[in-house]
């Protein structure tokens, strides 16, 4: 192993520790990753920093200068922030998203911006204006989406950790398909200020990391109320680094609605094995019901497009981003949006516009909100009996590039197990729990609002017992 390879094989938390101990120079660490990110063959990055920051991290910076890959839809001052869209091609914002600024202050300099589905709409990263991202486990397959670039970068060791956003599964599903850890926090736990919005009532930023400990460390410095985001909330307790070796007394609920039909056999087997392992570790496991969960996708595909249709109205060519030339205002609007947005984004804008239209609002958006309330109630009553709800993260392993692009509905079904938690605003984490045909499988744990500390601990105990090895993807990506 070269010296650089050794640095790359350090986990993020270990690397931060090594920097603080004086064993590793922050610039050295940054350059090791920068070199790999710049040589990215997965199309995971849309922009990579030219060099390590001139000023290293403060001596007491808790994250020790360990560099961070950031999904393209986080605004970063002076750095392209394009949300995977042609309509924002070349857009460099005049300000930085609160969570990115917060992390930079804690000692994670920006390594690069990562590819994604356009405006976070997609489950395969094939909807990017900057081309699809390849899965480091099999380059003919998708990394999942929408945060596919961040997931692939961390899995391939092009970044020690990364930021993503999750609206209906956009952190958890690519984490599962790339064999890494991804956490979607409680809605409101992390500021949304500076996140290019997809669906405001669902969007939430979260960490990608190789393991649960790194995810917890990054998350620790992400949470907190932000006066610039009215929907953000103070996290009730500090985020702890997880430890423990058993799950004694932990009650797991397995919802029949999310673990039955439609789950691929390899994924189902891995799920059953992990359930058995949890029982061996002392957890009690019982079947349960989330009666409204089967309607979650329908509700989600009304609420999210409705909000998106409004959130994306600002891309009109007047002030920034792409503008098509035309002689009058209406033609300029129409051409700019026709040429600037991709097919999936247009599909959702049309869906959302329709759902909000006068005369249809009650039947679509109004009813979807009622379903959303019911789903949240389902979880609330489940959490009276269980500490966590567990499901497979994705019903399938990574699929082939192009396999589902012609069939939006089958693509949407990929989020079947992750969307209910998004609608309920509760935290959920995906950890790798094995391989199926040589491709990673993800295991999802969801808990009540602000239960992240308990969730991270349970995920950590399982992770230790599972002993998943993701190093293959890091080796495979090099050169």
């Amino acid at each position: 192993m070269s010296a650089n390879d050794e640095l790359i094989e350090l986990g993020a938390a270990e690397a931060a520790e090594a920097v603080r101990a004086g064993d590793v120079k922050p610039a050295e660490l940054f350059d090791a990753y920068r070199e790999r990110a710049a040589a990215d063959e997965l199309n995971a990055f849309t922009w990579v920093a030219d060099a390590a920051p001139v000023e290293g991290p403060a001596a007491d910076a808790p994250l020790g200068g360990v560099p961070l890959a950031v999904k393209d839809l986080f605004c970063t001052e002076g750095v392209p922030s394009q949300a995977g869209s042609r309509i924002l091609a070349g857009y460099r914002p005049p300000y930085t998203a609160s969570v990115v600024a917060r992390l930079a202050a804690a000692g994670t300099p920006l390594l690069g911006k990562t590819n994604q589905d356009e405006f976070a709409m997609g489950s395969s990263n094939e909807n990017s204006a900057f081309g699809p991202v390849r899965n480091p486990w099999d380059r003919e397959r998708v990394p999942g989406g929408s945060s596919g670039g961040s997931a692939a970068a961390v899995a391939a060791g092009l970044a020690p950790w990364a930021l993503g956003t999750d609206t209906g599964g956009s952190i958890r599903q690519p984490a599962a398909l790339c064999g890494i850890v991804g956490l979607k926090p409680t809605y409101g736990a992390v500021s949304r200020y500076g996140l290019i919005a997809f669906a405001s009532s669902l969007d939430q930023a979260g960490p990608f990391a190789r393991d649960v400990t790194d995810a917890a460390l990054l998350f620790r410095h992400m949470v907190g109320q932000d006066e610039l985001d009215s929907t953000s909330l103070a996290f009730p307790e500090p985020i702890a680094l997880p430890d423990g070796a058993d799950l004694t007394g932990v009650r797991l609920g397995v919802p029949e609605e999310l673990t039955g039909e439609g789950i691929e056999s390899g994924v189902r087997e891995a799920f059953s094995a992990t359930i058995a392992l949890a029982e061996q570790l002392g957890a009690s496991v019982e079947a349960c019901h989330l009666p409204h969960a089967p309607h979650a996708l329908s509700a989600y595909y009304l609420i999210a497009p409705a909000e998106a249709s409004s959130n994306l109205a600002r891309y009109d060519g007047v002030r920034y981003g792409y503008r098509a030339e035309a002689d009058d205002l209406l033609t300029m609007y129409l051409r700019t949006r026709a040429e600037g947005f991709g097919a999936e984004v247009k599909r959702r804008i049309m869906l959302g516009t329709y759902a909000l239209s006068s005369g249809y609002y009650d039947a679509y958006y109004g009813r979807a909100q009622k379903v959303r309330t019911k789903i949240a109630e389902d979880f609330r009553s489940a959490f009276e009996r269980f500490d966590f709800i567990v499901t497979p993260t994705s019903p399938t392993v990574a699929f082939r590039l192009g396999e589902k692009t012609a069939d939006p509905l089958s693509m949407y079904l990929n989020d079947f197990c992750t969307v209910p938690m998004s609608l309920a605003g509760i935290p959920a984490i995906s950890i790798p729990n094995g391989l199926s045909d040589g491709l990673p499988v993800g295991f999802q744990l969801a808990g009540p609002a602000f239960s992240e500390n308990r969730l991270l601990r349970a995920a950590y105990v399982l992770e230790q017992a599972l002993g998943f090895d993701g190093s293959q993807a890091r080796g495979g990506a090099e050169g």
Binding site: P93, P94, A97, L228, T231, S310, R314, R319, Y320
Partner: protein, 485 residues
């Protein structure tokens, strides 16, 4: 049918820019007249990723407005997005309140309030080339300084029945808002903007006719004229057997209509082109929950409002209803009156003092603020006290007031300097009356024949001779005495 066979039904929608330090949803300072686009930030420019944060002061002001308009206050109101594409709307939507506004039903004077809600103002489009309106402009530019200014939109019930009433009521509203100190309420600068929904119906009917929305009336005069013109237009349509169509209309006071009336009305858009604003709850803001301390703070800052003031003038001071309303609605007159009344103490009748201010003084200074005139409240009070003590006569008092308006000073000194003191002894006056009778035998003859109207020229003669210093009643008595009537 004649015009009087129709009853106009008018409702008003008033946009009030709040005088907060910063904008509705960001920290940019409000400005008027500053260079374009110098008060902007990611939030009010609608940059990707920016989020709104509600201005607490705007809520405070809205609560004061709601209380002043006697509105029901909503314990938990919410914001909606009103979606439309236009370059003055950088997000593609306006954040406003929709079905759950902060202020519900209320009343001001004789007009019921339907609701009042908070929203953000649009940016300002400037059309270059041509007339300044969009038609004929060569290009348009956007100034985002105004974008995001806090607005309260007040919507009345259709309780107004004439253009004059619309104007009078808007005056009351403006005074109320000015007293509250929540807005500059300047129609020229757009801090007070009024649209009118106008319809007509046969007098006595209680069915509402098709309404039109009249925009761009940026003065009280134009509001009255615009509404008048629209009522006339609708009556003409109906009289000709046509039907009024629902549309948004633009009133242009600088032109004349086909009929020659001042101000042309032109159509902006009809109902067929009406926007579907696709309102839905703003997910970037949390519900606005009123806490007791917010209500207390708003209540504590409420000044005496015009309606209360008018009532106090009527009840406590015994002023006539008209005078009480005038002083209450034109608060500068009320303020001046109160200072003068304090100076006069119990030595002047409240209504007489009021009449001298609302009648004689206003006739001399017009719409300007009496506090800015050379007539101090103390001076006008002294004048009325002199009158009451019969030390001067009304005619002389008017001359004293002329002098006060022109040069200021003290009434007593002016009376002395100009020799305007009332004629003291009856002998002196009797002599003047005798001369008057002598000079007009024709009048004397009529008087003797019992035609008392003929006394006018005699009294006029005496007043001229005495420069208004004579007591009219005394002159009358002396005429009768000298003619043995």
């Amino acid at each position: 049918m004649s015009a009087s066979a129709y009853e106009p039904v008018i409702g008003l929608e008033i946009h009030v820019q709040l005088k907060t330090r910063t904008k509705m949803f960001c920290g940019c300072e409000l400005s008027f007249g500053d260079p374009p686009n110098t008060h902007t930030c990611p939030v009010c420019l609608g940059l990707p990723g920016a989020l709104p944060v509600l201005n607490a002061k705007a809520v405070h002001y809205a609560l004061m407005v709601g209380m002043a308009l006697d509105c029901e206050l909503t314990p938990r109101s919410i914001f909606h997005r009103k979606n439309y594409f236009y370059p003055d709307s950088p997000k593609g939507y306006q954040i406003s309140q929709y079905d759950i506004p902060i202020c519900g039903a209320g009343r001001l004077g004789d007009v019921r309030i339907h609701r009042a809600h908070l929203e953000e103002d649009a940016a300002k489009l400037i059309h270059l080339g041509g007339t300044g309106r969009i038609h004929g402009a060569s290009e348009s530019v956007v100034d985002f300084n105004r974008g995001g200014t806090p607005l309260v939109e007040i919507v009345t019930e259709p309780d107004v029945r004439s253009a004059a009433q619309a104007r009078e009521w808007l005056t009351l509203l403006r005074t109320t808002l000015r007293q509250l100190g929540v807005s500059d309420v300047n129609m020229d600068e757009g801090s007070l903007r009024c649209d009118a929904n106008v319809s007509i119906r046969p007098a006595g009917s209680d069915v509402l006719g098709t309404k039109t929305e009249l925009k761009n009336m940026n003065s009280f005069r134009y509001l009255e004229r615009g509404v008048e013109a629209e009522i006339a237009r609708q009556i003409a349509i109906v009289e000709a057997g046509g039907e009024v169509i629902q549309e948004t209309l633009h009133y242009d006071p600088t032109t004349r209509s086909a009929g020659g009336a001042p101000g042309a009305i032109s159509s902006l858009r009809s109902k067929e082109e009406a926007h579907d604003y696709r309102y839905f709850p703003e997910p970037d803001l949390v519900p606005l929950v009123l806490e007791e301390r917010m209500l207390e703070a708003a209540r504590a800052e409420l000044p005496e409002l015009p309606a209360q003031r008018a009532e106090r003038y009527e009840q406590e001071l015994g002023l006539s209803a008209d005078t009480a309303r005038l002083f209450a609605f034109r608060s500068e007159l009320g303020d001046y009156y109160e200072l003068a009344a304090a100076a006069a103490g119990t030595s002047a009748e409240p209504q007489v003092l009021a009449n001298w201010i609302s009648g004689e003084l206003v006739a001399r200074i017009g719409d300007s603020d009496p506090a800015a005139s050379k007539v101090t409240p103390g001076a006008i009070a002294q004048l009325v006290v002199l009158l009451r003590g019969k030390q001067i006569q009304p005619g002389a008092a008017k001359q004293v007031l002329d002098a006060l308006v022109a040069d200021g000073g003290e009434p007593e000194a002016i009376v002395a300097a100009l020799g305007l003191g009332a004629i003291g002894g009856a002998d002196e006056l009797a002599e003047v009356v005798a001369r008057a009778l002598e000079s007009d035998p024709a009048a004397v003859e009529k008087l003797r024949a019992g035609n008392m109207k003929a006394i006018g020229p005699i009294v006029g003669f005496v007043m001229r001779e005495t420069k208004g210093r004579a007591d009219g009643g005394e002159v009358n008595r002396l005429v009768r005495e000298q003619l043995g009537l």
